[in-house]
């Protein structure tokens, strides 16, 4: 009934096709599509939080405006530029993998991970500065300058949104970092790059989410 030809051991360097796929191209298509379905579910997760932010903003417009002024626009904008550049470097990494430029690909992945680390360091600087002013999430909020409930909601949502985003940054960094060694060793190429592509797609999603977070949290004023 089914063709058992590709149930045999693959030659060294080749990729085995799973039994339920006709060929490698279809398997990669399924892997890629599965990644997009996962990414779409992630966007819905953040969309729910964005909707929550929009609802509270509609309820406390003045407090949200005042609170957003206490976010550092310089750091926020720098982080935006950092993530945009990291998207470029991970796209370049995939491009290099597909063209067989192993070392450039490994270097580009390394740059991406490093930029992610810089992003997280800047966020830590921001969080520490907020803590020093008594800006904590939820019930622990103790910001004397803006004691209103609306300001509390702004910062609670700020921590929730940026914290969840930071977790995604860490996840993406981990995945990309683990890819560096096999990429440099030439495990992936034009015929077999879908894992690197999926790592890059996840990283672009992290950038996409921040592209919308930045104006809402830093440019409202």
């Amino acid at each position: 009934m089914s063709d058992r030809a590709h149930a045999a051991e693959p030659a060294h360097g080749e990729v085995a096709v799973a039994e339920h796929f006709e060929d490698l191209a279809r398997q990669h298509h399924a892997v890629r599509l599965g990644m997009w379905v996962f990414l779409s579910s992630e966007t819905l997760l953040f969309a729910a939080l964005f909707a929550l932010f929009a609802a509270y903003r509609a309820m406390y417009p003045a407090e949200f405006l005042a609170a957003s002024h206490h976010n550092d626009v310089v750091i926020g904008t720098a982080n935006t530029a950092i993530l945009i550049t990291s998207s470029f470097s991970v796209a370049w990494a995939l491009h290099s993998v597909r063209h067989g430029a192993r070392r450039v690909a490994g270097l580009s992945l390394g740059i991406t991970v490093t930029l992610g680390a810089v992003f997280l360091c800047l966020k830590l600087v921001e969080y520490v500065d907020h803590f020093r002013h008594g800006i904590y999430p939820g019930a622990h909020y103790a910001f004397a300058e803006l004691p209103s409930h609306g300001a509390n909601m702004f910062f609670t949502l700020y921590y929730f949104l940026t914290g969840l985003h930071a977790l995604h940054v860490i996840g993406g960094m981990t995945f990309l970092a683990l890819l560096i060694r096999p990429v440099v060793r030439g495990k992936y190429g034009e015929a077999n790059h879908v894992l690197v592509e999926n790592g890059a797609l996840y990283w672009h999603l992290v950038d996409l989410i921040w592209i919308f977070l930045w104006p809402l949290l830093y440019l409202v004023g």
Binding site: A25, H29, R32, L33, W36, V37, S40, S41, T43, L44, A47, A48, F50, A51, L52, A54, A55, A58, M59, V73, T77, T80, A81, I84, T85, S87, F88, A91, W92, H95, A200, L201, H204, D207, L208, I211, F212, W214, P215, L216, L219, V220, G221
Partner: protein
Amino acid sequence: MATRRLGGLSYVLAWLALLVLTAASLGAAQLPLGALAPAVALGIASVKAAIVLLVFMHLLESSVPVRVVIATALVFIVLLALGVVADVVTR
């Protein structure tokens, strides 16, 4: 299955465009746009998102099923946003 392949130059151009749009967004935030400010900010963000999706994430050369998946997500995000806004605004 991929159709056309974008060259390396398109990544560089996309990156530069994203940085320019970021600067534009920052500039627009300084202007006294009043009620239009969030719309302008989100509008620019949407253009940046489109560039990331189409160029970096290769949506321009993606198969139809992938595009259907994204379109579906976008439709439901819009529905969610409309639902929440309608709730809050009509209280």
